[in-house]
């Protein structure tokens, strides 16, 4: 039987290339590489549709998914201006702040924050300070005080700045008295000035949704979830130099509720005392951390799997 040498070389080369490809591409296929479970999710249009499809546990009366509602939420305007708003500091030595204009007036006036430069000058004088930052909104504390010593509401701040004489030395204030009935006045009654813009309220009221609704709420992989949970329980022994090559593999069977169905069986066989201790510490962690919270949609995958506890850094 005669074979051309080039043909033989070609066969050998093919075998080599294909064999190499088989070994190097296939061996890693089923190892779930460690990945961190982060709360950031990138959602495709398809996934979004699934998430908003609804849940079987939803309330019946909510007929449709609420996502459209969120879309037309009231705009959040002027967050900055509202947050910096601050009640004037009331002390015994400062004269009582000028009571704000009545409640009805101010609402329309809010938007314009006063120019900072002009007002910053007269800072030493207590009076202007109160005028400036006072957006016409009701200041509850001031209001409470106003009731105690009634004063006529001052005219518009700008005008008064010019008109008022320089402040006289503060006249002694009446003794502070504690009035239980006024506690309510001290509460901050302002509207909350921040709203969540997006995201977490997306599906907070689960609707019954459509018949296809079936999505899991978290698209992080279950492997990373298991890893982060079991690592919290794992107190691994300190092994020094010889610890670098240890690896303990278990086969774990989980029930639907995330608890262990059987005691995990170790697949690897400990060869040194340190390896045995390492394996026991891992087993302890698996047992202690149950039940695991894993996405039910992937139950078929995580009902039977093999966690690998290792010191080998890949």
């Amino acid at each position: 039987m005669k074979v051309d040498k080039t043909f033989a070389a070609s066969v050998a080369l093919h075998v080599l290339v294909i064999g190499w490809g088989l070994v190097s591409f296939s061996s890693k296929a089923f190892v779930s590489m460690p990945e961190d479970s982060l709360p950031v999710e990138i959602i495709s249009a398809d996934q979004l549709a699934k998430v908003t499809a609804g849940m079987k546990s939803g309330k019946k009366e909510v007929k449709t998914p609420l996502v459209e509602k969120v879309a037309e939420a009231k705009p959040i305007d002027d967050t900055v201006g509202k947050i910096t708003e601050k009640a004037p500091v009331v002390t015994d030595t400062t004269p009582p702040p000028p009571p704000p204009t009545p409640v009805e007036k101010p609402v329309e006036k809010k938007p314009d924050p006063p120019k900072p430069v002009a007002e910053s000058k007269p800072k030493e004088e207590p009076k202007p300070i109160e005028k400036k930052p006072d957006p016409p909104k009701v200041d509850p504390i001031a209001e409470a005080l106003k009731k105690e010593e009634p004063k006529k509401p001052p005219p518009k701040p700008q005008a008064q700045a010019a008109a008022t004489p320089p402040p006289t030395p503060p006249k002694p204030k009446p003794e502070r008295t504690f009035d239980q009935s006024k506690i309510a006045a001290l509460l901050d009654k302002r509207d909350p000035s921040r709203n969540a813009a997006t995201g977490d309220t997306l599906n907070s009221n689960a609707a019954l949704g459509l018949s296809k609704g079936k999505a899991a709420d978290n698209s992080a992989t279950w492997g990373a979830m298991f890893k982060s949970q079991v690592e919290r329980c794992w107190k691994k022994p300190y092994g020094g130099i010889e610890a670098q090559m240890t690896e303990a593999i278990f086969s774990v069977k989980l029930k639907q509720d995330g608890s262990l169905e059987t005691t995990p069986a170790s697949i690897s066989n400990p060869s040194t005392p340190y390896f045995r201790v390492y394996q026991e510490s891992a087993l302890r962690a698996i047992i202690e951390c149950q039940p695991y919270k894993l996405p039910a949609a992937y139950f078929d995958e995580w009902k039977f799997f093999e966690p690998v506890f290792t010191e080998r850094r890949s």
Partner: protein, 443 residues
């Protein structure tokens, strides 16, 4: 040119191709694997209830043993013994398995139960069991007989058993430390050799303090100590038997002899001999009294220490200008410098585990204790300060003891630190103490 493979060659070639494909494919059909790499290296919570008293009179020793074990494990830094006040279950019978749920509730991962019983012949019987709380398995269990005054020793042995079973490494609690006890005013210090358990208990004085003593070292048999003493003439290396109190001068050399250390088999003592302005390393066989020169340089070679297998030594030499650490074969020959950091290195000592060399490093106005691998890589400073000196390894190589002098009017005291640099602890001594040397395990 034609190449003719036989039929057999073709078949075997095909078969090996198939095999190649097979191995590639086989790994692809496993269960999904999840890699877990980040555990916490945290102390293991362990519950150590008082040992049950076999007879009413054994109550005290039962409490004492549990306390010694608790103290040992706590000081190691690898265990977090749980306060007895938190215990739900009271162990009354160690022959029945405990109610593990009660120990799970207080987060114990391991549980030690034990019993001390005075025997008819006056001896003390000590039994213990170590349980894994999560799996409910007994990890180990032993019983010992001893005379009642050695109950502390039994507690140390049990501590070693627990340590070994839960860390995978040998323990070091059943060991002693010889050190130089210092008393009196700073100018007129009285220095005596003293011996104690590694936890500071059972202090015994070996010398009266008439002469200055330095650098005591244990022999592997733990019955003998070699040290340097300033007597009437030059300082000399002595051999001291702990049991009999006998002492003798090692060799009869013209000049000063110093910094002795035993070989791992205990048959030889390696030391420095002064020769003019220099000093060289010599090794003396204790049986035949024959002396061999190991180095011959116009420099100061000192502080030799054997590797645990006795094949190599490390020592300190200023042949390169500043004191540095060198290693060479135990029979002499060329030496390799292994320390290359800033400052000077001295008092090297080889770990009993063989993996590290501990040293004193001087530089920048500070004395630090550090370790490096035996090839000089991986240098790690464990502690640094005004004055730290004289490292010595625990028998398992996991802990380093050294002495620290804070300066001022005070005096030195002993400390231990883990080779990771964590868990620094002061060792209780009656007075000031320096120059510690850790014994091998007693049993």
């Amino acid at each position: 040119m034609l190449f003719r493979p036989s039929r057999r060659q073709i078949i075997s070639g095909m078969a090996s191709t198939g095999l190649l494909m097979g191995t590639g494919a086989r790994t692809a059909f496993g269960q999904a694997r999840v890699q877990i790499t980040e555990g916490n290296v945290a102390p293991l919570p362990i519950a150590i209830p008082n040992f049950v008293a076999g007879t009413a009179s054994d109550n005290e020793v039962g409490v004492g043993v549990a306390q010694v074990i608790t103290n040992n494990l706590k000081r190691s830094g690898l265990f977090a013994p749980i306060d007895q006040a938190a215990f739900i279950e009271k162990v009354t019978n160690i022959d029945a398995p405990p109610q593990f749920q009660n120990w799970k509730t207080i987060n114990a991962q391991a549980l030690v139960t034990g019993r001390m019983t005075r025997q008819g012949d006056g001896r003390l019987k000590a039994e213990f069991r170590l349980w894994d709380v999560a799996t409910g398995q007994q990890l180990t269990g032993q019983q010992y007989f001893t005379s009642p005054e050695y109950w502390r020793r039994i507690a140390h042995i049990i501590s070693d058993q627990i340590y070994e079973r839960l860390t995978g490494e040998k323990g070091y609690f059943d060991s002693r430390v010889v050190f130089v006890d210092e008393t009196g005013a700073k100018e007129r210090r009285v220095k005596r050799l003293a011996l104690m358990d590694q936890d500071g208990a059972n202090v015994r004085y070996l010398t009266r303090g008439a002469d200055l003593v330095l650098t005591p070292r244990f022999s592997p048999s733990t019955q003998e100590i070699t040290y340097m003493e300033f007597g009437q003439g030059d300082p000399r290396v002595y051999l001291f038997n702990i049991e009999t109190g006998q002492r003798e001068i090692v060799g009869n050399f013209p000049g000063m002899s110093f910094s002795p250390r035993f070989s791992p088999d205990g048959q030889r003592v390696i030391m420095s001999l002064q020769q003019g302005g220099n000093s060289n390393l010599f090794v003396m066989d204790l049986r035949s009294k024959s002396t061999t020169r190991l180095t011959d340089t116009p420099a100061i070679d000192t502080s030799p220490s054997y590797a645990p297998d006795g094949s190599r030594i490390c020592f300190e030499s200023d042949r390169g200008g500043k004191p540095q650490i060198y290693t060479m074969a135990a029979t002499g020959g060329p030496a390799q410098r292994i320390s290359f950091g800033d400052g000077s290195y001295s008092t090297p000592v080889w770990s009993p585990r063989g993996d590290y060399i501990a040293f004193t490093k001087q530089g920048g106005g500070q004395f630090a204790i550090g370790i490096m691998k035996t090839d000089g890589s991986g240098e790690r400073i464990l502690t640094a300060g005004y004055h730290n000196e004289g490292p010595t390894f625990a028998p398992n190589g996991r802990v380093v003891m050294f002495f620290r002098d804070p300066g001022g009017s005070g005096g030195p005291s002993l400390f231990t630190v883990d080779i990771s640099g964590r868990n620094e602890q002061r060792v209780p001594t009656p007075g000031f103490a320096s120059d510690p040397a850790w014994s091998p395990l007693l049993s």
